[in-house]
Symmetry: C2
Subunit: 503 residues, 2 copies
C-alpha cells in the first residue's frame, strides 16, 4: 500500500471540512432522482434498466428520466435536459455514453443535486490519456459542489429509501445492520445476493468503482457514525490515500466491527487489479499487518465475509469462549471439536451437574452427554432438544450452544412414512423452542445445517433446507452450512470483541 | 499415534499370510448373502432395513433372510437358522441383538462364508468388560476362518455388485474410481451422499466400525492393488497398529493417491473419539508429520476430501502449474489469482501470440485478454468461449483452464425475455464444446460454478445449477462451487503427483 496522493490530477482530494458538508441524507434517502440515459425507444440500456429496477424495488420518491429525444418511458415523461426538470434534485444517476457524462454531471451540480452516481465506464480504468483526463474532469466538477459515486460503478443500495443498485431489481426492502463498500460492482452484487440467502440485511451498500470523488476513507467515516450500521464490510482492491484510509479504518474499527476482504494480494491478482479498477494493490505482508494493527477483521473470500457479517449481525457483542455441540452423531461431533480448536474456541466437557441432567434425557446406548452431546437420534423431538439445551446452558463454562441439524435425514423418514419432509420435520417448533432457550438463558444458539443431498434428485431436500434456514433466521438465530464456517465466524467475533483481552 | 498392538485381547492381529488368503472377491461381490435379524412381523429393525435396501439398489445375487421365527419378508422365505440355508454362503450380514451375534457369526463361519458384516453395536465401544469380552470373542471366531467387518458399523457399498451400505437404499449403481474407508458409518454415509452430487463415483466403500478384525491397514493393502480403485479416501479416528498402518499407507500412496481425513486431532475431539469408536487418537503434530512422510494427501474436512477425490478422479495424472481463468468479471478474476497463489498455483500472463488471438475475440471495452481473461459478458456464447479456450490453450505456460460460470445471472436474462433459465442458457452446448477443447488440446477444463442465489425464492436457479453441474460431470469435466475449493483440490493433485519434484 502506498501512502500519499497517487493521482496525477492537480485537484486536491476532498478534505475533512468538505466531507463534513456532504449531504449524505439526500444521497442515501433522495426524494427526487434524475436518471440520465434512459432509452425511450424500448431499448434496455443501463439507464432504462436502472429506472425499471428503481420502480421494481418500490422506490417511493420521484423518478425523473432524462434523454435529449424526450418521449415517455415506463409511464414517466422524459425530460430533454436536466435543466428542464422543475424544482429540486437530490441525486442524479448518469448512464449515458462516456463522452456525454461531463455536461450532465455539471448540469446536475448546477441543479443543486447533493450527489451523482456515474454508472458509465470509459474513464481512468481504460489506462488511456483520454480516459484519465475525463476522470480528472469528473473530480474537478465534483470539487466544485457535487459528490460523485463512480464512474464505472453500480451505485447505491439503500433498502430504507428504496434506492437500488444497478442492475438488481429484486433486492429486499428490509433494512439491517450490514453496510458494504466496494470498488467492484460485480462483487458487491454477488455479496448482496449471497448475503440475502445467508441472512444478512443491509443498511447501505455502495459500489464506487473508480472512486473519482467519494471513496473508501470518507465513506468509512460516514458509516462509522451511521446509527443504522452495526457492522461494516469492505472489498478493497486498492486505496487512494493509504494514511487517510488507515486513520479512517482505525476510527471506524474502534466503534464497530469492520470486516475487510483485500483483493489482489497475489502477484497475478495485483496485475488483474490494475486492469479492473486502476487501483494500486500492494504486498500481502504489508496489507495484512497494517489491517491487523488497525483492528480490522480480515477475511479470505466473499463467503467468509458474509458469514462473519452474519455472526456480527446476530450475536450479542461479547466473547464466546466455551461452546457446546449437540446432535449430528459421533464423527460430526469430533469434526466440530477439531474445527473449534482451529479457530481458538473451546469445547469443555460438561460439569457433573449439567452432564447428569443431560444424560438423564438421553438413551442409554450410543449416546453421549459429555460435550459434544450425541443424542443418537437424528429425529430427536424439539421438546427433548429444548430440555437438553436448558440443561447444558446451566453449565457456566458454556457461552454459546450449537445445534447440528441434518435435514436430509428427514427425507428417509418421510419416505418410510409416505409423507413429505415438511410433515415429518417440525422445524418451526424447533426454531421457536431454541429461540426461547437463547433468550431465557442469555446464551446464543447457533445452527449448523450441513446438507449432504444437493443433487438434482434431491431438490425436495434443498427446498426444505432453505425453508429451515429461513425459519431460524426469522427468529434471529444464526445459521451456517458447515461447522467450519460457523467456527471461523465465531472466531472472528471473539478476536474483534476480545481485542483488549490479554489471553 | 501409538505403535504396537493396543488391544487387550490375546488374539493375534491377522498376519500378512492370513490377509493373502482373504477372499475379497466373495466379500465385495457376493452371490449369496444371508441377512440375520430381519423382522417377519413387519417391523423396521436394522436387518429389515438392510434387506430392503439391498432389494432397492437392485442387488442381483440371492438374499437369504434369517430369523428363528421363520415366515416371510419382502417376498422371501425366512430361514430359522443359518444352518438351514442350503448350498454355499459368501457373506453374512448380522443385525441381531448384541447378545445373539456370536452364535450366528460362528454359524456363518461353519457355513463357509468368506465374510461377515456385523451392524450391531454393543461391543468394545461400550467400554464395559461385557462389551470388550464380546468383541474379543468376535475376533476369536474371525481368526478361526471368517473375515469380519464391524461390529458397530454400516458395512460395505459396492455399486458393481449391488451390495449396499446400511441404511442407504438410494445409492447409485454406477461404479467409479473412488474407494473410501471409515470407522464411522455416519461419516461414510455423509461422504457418499455428498460425493454423489459433487460427482464422485465409488469402487468400494467400507465402514468397519470398531474394526474387530478387518480394518484400516489390511483394507488399504487390498485397495492399493484393486484395479477398480484409482484413489483411496480414508476417515481415521484411530488405528490399531501404528507401524502396520504406516507401512500399508506408504505402500498404497506409492501406487495411487490416498486422501486422509484424521478426526480428533484437537483435545476435545480426541476425547470425543474415545466415546465414538473406542480408538486411540493422538497429537496433531505427530499425525500430520507422519501422514506427510507416508505420502498421504491430508485434508481438513469432508468437503475438502470429496473435492480432492473429484480432482483425482477426473484430472489426468500430472502436475498443473500454470492456470488460466476465463469469465466471471474483474473481482472474481482477482479472487481466482489470490486463491491460486494460496495453493501454490500460477496464473501466468498470456504470451503475445495467445493474448493477441484472445483480444481479437473480445469486446474493446471492459474486457481483458491478459489472464484472467475477462469476457465482460456473463452471457458469452459457447462458440465464443470455445474459440477463446482454444487460443489460450495455445500458450505453453497454461496447463489447465478454468471457466467461471455464473448461472444465476441467467435468471435476470430469462426474466427480461419472458423465458425459463433453461431456455436462455445453452449449458449443454457449452459442456460439449468445452469437452472437445479439453480432449483436443490435452489441457483439462475445470468449471467453477458459484451460485449467489440459493434462497427459497430462487429454487429455479438452484435447480438449473444442479443440472448444469450434471451436464459437465457427465462429460467428465470437474465442477467446483467455489474458486478456492477448485484451487485447493488442484493443489492437492500437484503435491501428490509432484512428490518427486525438486520445486
Amino acid at each position: 500500500m502506498k501512502t500519499g496522493n497517487q493521482d496525477s490530477s492537480a485537484v486536491k482530494a476532498p478534505d475533512a471540512a468538505r466531507a463534513a458538508g456532504t449531504d449524505y441524507e439526500r444521497i442515501f434517502h433522495p426524494r427526487r432522482v434524475a436518471v440520465a440515459g434512459v432509452s425511450p425507444g424500448g431499448g434496455v440500456g443501463f439507464g432504462t434498466r436502472y429506472l425499471t429496477s428503481l420502480q421494481a424495488i418500490g422506490f417511493e420518491g420521484e423518478i425523473l428520466p432524462v434523454n435529449p429525444k424526450g418521449g415517455e418511458i415506463a409511464g414517466l415523461s422524459i425530460f430533454k435536459n436536466v435543466e428542464d426538470i422543475p424544482g429540486e434534485l437530490d441525486l442524479i444517476v448518469i448512464a449515458v455514453a462516456a463522452e456525454a457524462v461531463l455536461p450532465i454531471l455539471e448540469a446536475g451540480r448546477k441543479k443543486g443535486a447533493a450527489g451523482a452516481v456515474i454508472i458509465t465506464s470509459g474513464f481512468r480504468e481504460l489506462g488511456t490519456s483520454e480516459g484519465i483526463g475525463r476522470e480528472d474532469e469528473v473530480r474537478r466538477i465534483a470539487a466544485s459542489g457535487i459528490r460523485v459515486i463512480g464512474p464505472n460503478c453500480f451505485g447505491i443500495y439503500c433498502p430504507k429509501s428504496g434506492l437500488t443498485f444497478f442492475p438488481n431489481p429484486d433486492l429486499s426492502r428490509e433494512s439491517g445492520p450490514v453496510a458494504f463498500l466496494s470498488q467492484s460492482g460485480g462483487l458487491a452484487s454477488d455479496f448482496m445476493m449471497t448475503g440475502m440467502w445467508m441472512g444478512l440485511r443491509f443498511s447501505k451498500v455502495v459500489s464506487f468503482g473508480n472512486g473519482a470523488d467519494l471513496r473508501e476513507a470518507e465513506l468509512l467515516r460516514y458509516l462509522a457514525d451511521d446509527p443504522e450500521t452495526g457492522v461494516i464490510a469492505m472489498y478493497v482492491e486498492g486505496v487512494r490515500d493509504g494514511s487517510e484510509f488507515l486513520d479512517a479504518l482505525k476510527a471506524a474499527a474502534a466503534k464497530k466491527p469492520v470486516v475487510i476482504l483485500k483483493g489482489g494480494l497475489s502477484s497475478a491478482g495485483g496485475r488483474a487489479v490494475v486492469s479492473h479498477t486502476a487501483s494500486l494493490g500492494g504486498s500481502r505482508v504489508i496489507w495484512e499487518s497494517v489491517l491487523r494493527q488497525a483492528g480490522a477483521v480480515q477475511v479470505r473470500d466473499l463467503q467468509e465475509m458474509a458469514q462473519a457479517c452474519l455472526a456480527f449481525s446476530l450475536l450479542p457483542e461479547r466473547v464466546y469462549r466455551g461452546l457446546s455441540f449437540t446432535g449430528g452423531g459421533g464423527a460430526l461431533g469430533i469434526a466440530a471439536c477439531d474445527a473449534a480448536e482451529t479457530f481458538g474456541l473451546e469445547v469443555p466437557p460438561l460439569g457433573t451437574d449439567a452432564r447428569g441432567r443431560v444424560e438423564a434425557l438421553l438413551p442409554k446406548s450410543g449416546a453421549s452427554g459429555v460435550n459434544p452431546v450425541d443424542v443418537a437420534n437424528p429425529y430427536a423431538p424439539p421438546a427433548l432438544l429444548e430440555k437438553i439445551f436448558r440443561a447444558v446452558a446451566g453449565d457456566s463454562r458454556i457461552d454459546l450452544q450449537i445445534l447440528i441439524v441434518l435435514t436430509h435425514h428427514f427425507k428417509g423418514l418421510a419416505q418410510d412414512q409416505g409423507k413429505t419432509i415438511e410433515e415429518v420435520f417440525p422445524y418451526r417448533e424447533l426454531a421457536d423452542r431454541m429461540k426461547a432457550v437463547a433468550v431465557e438463558t442469555d446464551k446464543p444458539v447457533v445452527f449448523v445445517l450441513p446438507n449432504a443431498k444437493r443433487g438434482f434428485p434431491d431438490m425436495d431436500v434443498v427446498e426444505i433446507h432453505a425453508k429451515v434456514r429461513e425459519a431460524f433466521l426469522e427468529r434471529g438465530l444464526p445459521v451456517f452450512d458447515e461447522i467450519g464456517d460457523a467456527m471461523r465466524a465465531i472466531g472472528h467475533v471473539n478476536r474483534c470483541y476480545g481485542k483488549g483481552e490479554t489471553s
